[in-house]
């Protein structure tokens, strides 16, 4: 028994476990010493938590696109960050028009709905075109080929939008109804963050519902299980793939509008970081798994928001906020060391087995 165990554990395993455990140790030590210092008040922690939840909700909507496409095609659509950028970067002109004409202040809800529809429509269109032009001709090619194409398509889309709208930044107008904050059990919470969290949750439920309870969702799951068998059963695989891309695009476009409620500045390179983070979140939760992407995104959003102050302040590191990306990726490394399939990844592989 002991001998077989010794044979199974290699030197690499031990090395990786030592790294993992030492990172975990530093994190725990930092957390304890930060809490002992007592620098931050309870309301400040709560504020960071709520901001983290809102950010995580936006990541979740972007991560949907990565995880669904991976589930069906087993490829990583790196151009998805540009699908995310295209929607809000186009809808900003609608929003500015509404703001100039006074419609935004008079009918904030209707204008917000129109802006969201425009953003979702543009992102969907870009996602579908991307599938049709860049990926479909390469579907039977080796797996590396579409990956490289995705990177190329990402640059292409970025510079197309730079050419269309210029290299400067545009600011989304402030929406008056979201400006105040409400007091929640003695804590001030901003309406924007509440709106983003609610919006993200509603979207996630809708997306999960489509995948789980509709006929086309069933077809999507069938294609994801076995493409050839699904085709033999009479499922139009091309149509399902287009639908998957469209759903990911719409989700990213709506996520983009929620993102601009939090950070009201858009430019042609705005997709890069949220895209990378959402991809990380999808891997964290177990790529190919819809609830996993949601869970991974919420965890990542919280870690980014609360993490730098919680883990690093106690260690006496100056300007910890600059290390928030490092924290996000260190956590990814930890998860991949201890659970290589992601948090909810194992269930999927069991289902498939």
């Amino acid at each position: 028994m002991l001998r077989t165990l010794r044979q199974r554990i290699t030197l690499t395993d031990i090395f990786i476990w030592v790294i993992g455990l030492s990172i975990a140790g530093i994190v725990i030590w930092g957390t304890i010493s930060t809490l002992q210092q007592g620098r931050y008040s309870g309301s400040s922690w709560l504020d960071l938590t709520i901001k983290g939840l809102a950010l995580g909700g936006v990541y979740a909507l972007i991560a949907m696109g990565y995880t669904m496409v991976y589930g069906i095609l087993k490829m990583i659509n790196f151009a998805h960050s540009e699908v995310f950028m295209s929607g809000p970067f186009t809808a900003v002109f609608v929003a500015l028009g509404f703001s100039k004409s006074g419609f935004l202040d008079r009918q904030p809800v209707i204008s917000l709905i129109i802006i969201t529809i425009v953003s979702a429509a543009v992102s969907t269109l870009i996602a579908v075109l991307l599938e049709r032009i860049a990926y479909r001709p390469l579907r039977s090619a080796p797996r590396l080929v579409p990956l490289i194409t995705a990177i190329g398509a990402s640059f292409f889309l970025q510079y197309v939008f730079r050419g269309l709208y210029g290299s400067g930044s545009y600011g989304y107008p402030a929406i008056k109804i979201f400006e105040q904050s409400v007091t929640f059990a003695g804590i001030q919470v901003h309406k924007t963050q509440i709106a983003v969290i609610i919006g993200a949750i509603v979207m996630m439920v809708v997306l999960y519902g489509i995948v789980q309870w509709t006929k086309i969702g069933k077809a999507m799951r069938a294609v994801s299980e076995d493409k050839e068998a699904a085709e033999l059963m009479g499922i139009n695989v091309d149509r399902i793939i287009v639908f998957t891309f469209a759903m990911g695009g719409a989700s990213a476009g709506i996520g983009g509008i929620l993102y601009t409620l939090l950070f009201p500045v858009v430019n042609f390179y705005m997709g890069f970081f949220p895209g990378i983070k959402a991809f990380t979140a999808a891997v964290l939760g177990g790529i190919g798994n819809v609830p996993g992407a949601f869970l991974g995104s919420i965890i990542l959003g919280l870690l980014e928001s609360v993490g730098p102050n919680l883990f690093l302040t106690g260690l006496g590191i100056p300007s910890p906020s600059q290390l928030k990306d490092a924290i996000a990726f260190v956590v990814l490394v930890l998860i991949l060391i201890f659970r290589p399939t992601g948090i909810l990844g194992e269930r999927i592989s069991q289902d498939k087995a």
Binding site: S41, S167, G168, G171, F273, N309, Q322
Partner: protein, 416 residues
């Protein structure tokens, strides 16, 4: 066969020798030959060739207004000069420095490879200068910046100082001290926090501010930094809020500056904290990107006033169809005129119109510029590179109104 080829080749050689001899003997017939004795070489401009002055400014991206405004100032100066220096046309083109060290390095490499360039107007940002100036200085150019303000660049003991570098922008030793003075004596604030973004400009400016503010008797509650590409500022603001400062001073750029303005108001403990930036955030793009949150945001910036300046603004509006979009147009206008005056002083003109510009001679002429009457004041340069004679003011933004309103020093406020 080979004989015929030989004849052809020899004919071509003879023809080219005859033609070459013609070309070289013509100028000697009209004037004595000029011999270049300058230690770092000369630029020779033929009778019908233009004098090449380049720019290295940020003309795209989030900070495009900064460099475009300076370029507009130079274009007006060229128009005022009738498009000519010493009877030669002016060739004015350049490279985009992107307001980053990488961009400055790439643009500087391109410009340094062009030996026809006499002088460079630029850079826009101090980080660009740090990367580009070693290259431009080694190429023998004279550089004059309209908006670099980092103290290092004109400090002869500092490795970031290079010969041939001049600026009409103020030194941040002055701007940082003025901001600290404003905060302590005018706003009566005793607790402040500073944020920089890792750029040479912001790092040095916050350092000067902290030093002066503490000297006056104030307390610095936090001196921290942000990533210039970050969008989520919640953790840095939460960190700053623990010190309960009355003012946050962040002399950084867009878009990070706009995100700080926007997010500070929704951070618990910072709702009423005053926010202040510097000339890097004096731009209409701040209005566009921060939206209504901009109300009450203050920036320090040089004050340029006077009848000549008003005339210049009228020309600017006529030429570009807009009010000046930034603050360093007049500095660029003065910078170009100082270069023009120095070229006229240092150049040797042959009778046929050929102009020889000794490069070190031009630097000497620049450095000995005295009492130059410009739009930004009376300018005197030195070998260190500082030409400016600035007055720093503080402006406050109001939502939907540009340019921002001047609030300090009170004696400069124009009553309408």
């Amino acid at each position: 066969m080979s004989k015929r080829l030989l004849i052809l080749v020899s004919l071509v050689i003879v023809a080219s020798m005859v033609l070459g001899a013609c070309a070289t003997t013509t100028p000697q017939a009209t004037s004595a030959p000029y011999t270049c004795t300058d230690s770092i070489g000369c630029v020779t401009i033929g009778p019908s060739d233009p004098i090449h002055i380049a720019y290295l400014l940020v003309v795209s991206g989030a900070n495009a207004a900064l460099g475009t405004d300076s370029r507009n100032g130079v274009e007006i100066a060229i128009a005022d000069a009738g498009g000519k220096i010493l009877g030669h046309d002016i060739k004015f083109d350049g490279e985009d420095g992107l307001c980053t060290a990488d961009g400055g390095q790439a643009a500087g490499t391109k410009l340094a490879a062009d030996p026809s360039i006499v002088a460079v107007i630029g850079t826009s940002c101090s980080s660009e200068a740090r990367a580009a100036e070693p290259l431009l200085s080694a190429a023998g150019f004279v550089t004059i910046s309209s908006s670099n303000t980092a103290p290092d660049l004109t400090d002869p003991t500092n490795p970031n100082h290079y010969p041939g570098y001049f600026r009409t922008a103020h030194n941040d030793k002055i701007q940082g001290a003025a901001a600290a003075d404003f905060a302590y004596t005018f706003l009566k604030i005793t607790k402040a926090a500073t944020i920089h973004d890792g750029s040479l400009y912001a790092d040095k400016l916050t350092e000067v501010f902290r030093g002066e503010f503490e000297k006056l008797g104030g307390t610095i509650t936090a001196a921290t930094s942000v990533d210039p590409n970050a969008t989520d500022m919640s953790s840095v603001l939460a960190d700053i809020a623990t010190g309960t400062p009355e003012l946050i001073y962040f002399p950084i750029f867009l878009p990070a500056g706009a995100f700080l303005v926007d997010q500070a108001k929704t951070t618990p403990g910072l709702e009423n904290t005053k926010l202040m930036g510097a000339d890097g955030l004096y731009s209409p793009d701040v209005m566009n990107t921060a939206g209504d949150a901009v109300e009450g945001f203050m920036v320090s910036s040089p004050i340029v006033q006077g009848a000549d300046y008003d005339k210049f603004v009228a020309k600017y509006v006529a030429k570009f169809g807009t009010q000046p979009i930034n603050i360093f147009h007049a500095h660029a206008y003065d910078g170009f005129n100082i270069v023009k005056a120095a070229i006229e002083k240092a150049a040797v003109v042959d009778t046929d119109g050929t102009v020889h510009i000794p490069r070190q001679g031009l630097r000497d002429a620049m450095a000995t510029t005295k009492e130059f009457k410009g739009l930004t004041g009376t300018l005197s340069c030195s070998y260190d590179g500082d030409c400016a004679n600035p007055t720093i003011g503080v402006y406050v933004y109001h939502a939907g109104q540009y340019p921002p309103e001047l609030i300090w020093p009170t004696e400069f406020i124009k009553t309408p």
